[in-house]
Amino acid sequence: MRPSRPTPASVQPVYPFAAIVGQERLKTALLLLGVDLGLGGVLLQGEKGTAKSTAARALARLLPPLEVVAGCPVGCDPAGPLCASCVARSGPLPVRQAPTPFVELPLGASEDCLAGSLDISAAVRRGELAARLGLLARAHRGVLYIDEVNLLPPHLSHLVLDAAASGMALLEREGLSLSHPARFALVASYNPEEGPLGPQLADRFGLCVRVRGEQEPGLRMEVLRRRLAFESDPQAFAAEWATGEDALRARLARARELLPRVEVGPQARNRAALLAAQAASQGQRGELACIRAARALAAWRDLGSVTPDMVDEAAPLALTHRAREGRAQEPPPLPRVLRQETPPEEIRPSRSEKPGQEMQKSGGQPGQERGLRILSPGEVRPVATRLPARESTSRVQAGRRDSREVSTARGRYIRASSQRLGRGLALDATFRAAAPHQKSRRTLDGPALVVKEPDIREKVRAARRGRLLLFCVDASGSMNAAARMKTTKAAVLGVLTEAYQKRDRVGLVAFGGSGARELLPPTSSVEVARRMLAELPTGGKTPLAAGLVSLAAVLERELAADPKLTPLAIIMTDGRPNVPLAASQGLGYDPGKAGNKGGGWGDGWGDGGYADREVLNLARRLSSSFRARFVVVDTDTGHHHEINLCRALAEYLGAYCVSLRRLTAEGVLDLVRQHWE
């Protein structure tokens, strides 16, 4: 028993690929994937509303129809590889034609949705242990699309990427053990503003495209015109573009046929090796991806061999996302909470939010529709799980922190428990608990399985939730900056060494010169930390405000990914800010104009200067916007603590202020142990 395979055409009209305006790189990457599904997927990076998912959907329509084994739950290729049920069949396999599947993975999907689970009806009606296959099986030989892949829980992304890499899905869950072929073209998109994609994840994609809205007014108007035409009459629009679609389809088919015969000579290989080495990509995946993309490009152009030029052309697609994590990253965008021009009083104090309230909030909210729309009518959904809704539309409302539902269905199912806490039904365990009693419970024409209250088992999920520690450190030239940075680095490595089995993560933001940088995005890896903190820039002025803004950006990103976190942020400074934010951001600096926002100072702290007031204003916003704990470490080695800003900063943050007479890594570690949850 498996859900019927929905044909995309019947669910909603699909915008034709040929009618997509501009976005040449995006289209090229997808077409190359269409030529060679073995490319390893395409990662699309860019803002919302840039035709990413439209194009992915449209691509599936261009792929030639498939010959599949009729009645096969996976949709096996009669030419193999075959799934276990096809292998077990005797006689010649019946064949039927089917469109290339397009399957979308919702972020809130549970693991059993994706990988498969116990078939309830087979168990209840016939007492049979059978599998209900998941999205990975449905996507076999088609396109699997994941929007906002950076927000996908790690255990799901691992499942998808392992299957994508090996072409097989291996399932050892809920009393089931099965494997089936799962060869699909993976297309995933994300918006970097919503948080980065881990380098391990990015590397697994064959190609990557940065997508931007078209900038040319003429093109933008054309986008609008076509979109309106499509929406007013999809059929007519499709008919209008049918010739273009057919041409693309035919060309794709030709290229696919040619692909195995395209030659890759030593020159092309050398070129790929050189380019990959320049991009400092780890391992050899980059090089291979480069060659494969160039080969698909040659096939697409109906050429029999790959020239070094084609490698050059393919390289940006294959290599940009693989460069080793660089040190100097683009400055983070201004965090949302600081962008909103609402007075601090109106920012709802998020500390008082309880997880329970967060869960309620999203029920019936506008965002819900988004997560559900991929489910076709009539499709069976597992009873135990609910697709968590996401508040994607309400995020931009002033003062509201992103609060995606923290569903109990998150996390990896590891075992079952008879304790009733409302965690979701563990079918397999429930059935097993009920099994021994069946003889006495069964009636003549009742169901094969009778489950009673005491049999109920719930899923215990692995909460792979570590803690988060952020350092925000003054790297300015004021006093002992080099020593302070070294000490902080030692403390970072020390915390990581101590914490590695708790899956805790540590990040570091440093400010100095005219701005702030995220030197270490939160990581749990000692090796990554060591590498990224190999050099510690110091010197210059003290842009404390910029440091706080960077800290806020990191907090916002991390809390968006995991709203249940309570990060600890340790701010180490001598409390003498002298660079206002406007200057750090390269904006005009106008103290007279902006100095009256927020209010509440003028009570004798610091020099009362613009930079000081700005810092305190930011501190107040930080403390009211994030569920985080702060500690201010006063690193002033002089004897004039009363005139620096640390104490005031701490007060505005609702934080402790600690003065470390001698700053040592051990001292900082003690501080961490003391204040970390």
């Binding site: 739950p73 590889p81 075959l82 799934c83 693991e111 168990a123 007492g127 049979e128 059978a130 599998a131 296959l133 255990h155 691992h158 499942l159 392992d162 097989m168 291996l170 399932l171 050892e172 869950r173 009393g175 053990s177 099965l178 494997s179 072929p181 380098p199 391990q200 697994r204 790929a272 090796a273 780890q282 391992g283 050899q284 995946r285 980059g286 090089e287 291979l288 060659i291 990896r412 590891i414 075992r415 397999d428 365990a429 097993r432 608990a433 099994a435 021994p436 069946q438 094969a448 692995a462 020390g494 060494t497 590695y500 089995q501 749990s524 890896s525 000692v526 090796e527 990554v528 060591r530």
Partner: protein, 344 residues
């Protein structure tokens, strides 16, 4: 869709072990474990895209056959039958025995506890009203190689179960009206990318050997990797055939080494050297000493010698000790210990 043996049989066109370019230390560590399963497995650490998983999955091609009770769910040794087979013997039954290849049994990181440990056979319970045990991955892994890809991402809970079984060589199941123990002694092979987090020390210690894999630096070798990869992708059957001879040569060498191993003796001074190297490098506990000695004996067997020398000890130390060295609190794991060993 279910009730087949854990399905690893579907991939006939795996990349040939013999065709893996360079990475000799990793290949040697794997081969040592095939020659002598008592070495205790290997942990392969390395950055992404360095053929770690490919090598382990390819290892299946080299594995020797061993006498196995044909219908025992635990693949037990007729010479040392499991309790269930023992009971059958005592009841006067003759156990059917066959020569069966050692397999690579894979534990996916997403596995649930019931599949690892084994659990009540639901179908038998429902249809026959019988509480029968449905064996899990630990049962399938008895006397085989148990492979965990991305072992550092395995849930702590599963790690506990795994450690328990690895320490005892036995899996004890007490759940859902099932109560039994069965042998579960396996060679543990794990691969991981340290950038995704570290491994628990208890688990690290369970691996006999540990190697670090790096991307190849030599451009000619890198080219060769690409050429072979493309050739394999283009026609895996033909590629496999081209490498079949080389594969058979390695398998034969493995078989010879296995035969020779029981008669390999330690040369005078070898025990002293084992202890000196262990103490000199500063390893914790005695497990390292034992692995070091076994490693040295196995290396000698692999090279067709009857006697393990102090040189074998030094070479085995490169594989057996990196993960056992006491580390200064903030230091990295050291793999370049050859120089240090020389000085001892």
């Amino acid at each position: 869709m279910n009730k087949q043996k854990p399905a690893q049989s579907v991939n006939p066109t795996a990349y040939p072990f013999a065709a893996i370019v360079d990475q000799n230390e990793m290949k040697l560590a794997l081969i040592v474990n095939v020659v002598n399963p008592r070495v205790g497995g290997v942990l392969i650490r390395g950055e992404k895209g360095t053929a770690k998983s490919t090598a382990v999955r390819a290892l299946a091609q080299l594995l020797p056959a061993q006498p196995t009770v044909a219908d025992c769910p635990y693949n037990c040794d007729p010479g040392r039958p499991c309790p269930a087979c023992q009971a059958r013997l005592e009841a006067g039954e003759t156990l059917p025995v066959e020569q069966r290849r050692v397999r690579v049994v894979e534990l996916p990181v997403g596995a649930t506890e019931d599949r690892l440990l084994g659990t009540l056979d639901l179908e038998a319970a429902l249809t026959e009203g019988e509480a029968r045990f449905s064996p899990g991955i630990l049962a399938a892994a008895n006397r085989q190689i148990l492979y965990v890809d991305e072992v550092n991402l395995l849930d702590d809970h599963l790690v506990d179960v795994l450690l328990d079984a690895a320490a005892m060589g036995v899996n004890s199941v007490e759940r859902e009206s099932v109560s039994l123990s069965h042998p579960a002694s396996f060679t543990l092979v794990g691969t991981m990318n340290p950038e995704e987090g570290e491994l628990r020390p208890q688990l690290t210690d369970r691996f006999g050997l540990c190697v670090q894999v790096r991307g190849l630096a030599d451009p000619a070798l890198r080219q060769e990797v690409i050429v072979r990869q493309l050739a394999w992708e283009a026609d895996s059957a033909a590629f496999g055939a081209a490498w079949a001879d080389e594969g058979r040569r390695i398998s034969a060498a493995v078989a010879r080494a296995r035969e020779l191993l029981p008669s390999v003796q330690a040369a005078p001074g070898v025990l002293e050297r084992v202890v000196a190297v262990s103490l000199g490098l500063g390893t914790d506990g005695h497990r390292g000493d034992l692995t070091l000695l076994k490693g040295a004996l196995t290396l000698a067997a692999w090279e067709g010698r009857n006697e393990a020398t102090t040189g074998d000890v030094d070479r085995a130390a490169l594989l057996a000790l990196p993960h056992r060295l006491r580390r200064r609190p903030l230091a990295e794991m050291e793999f370049d210990i050859a120089e240090k060993i020389k000085r001892i």
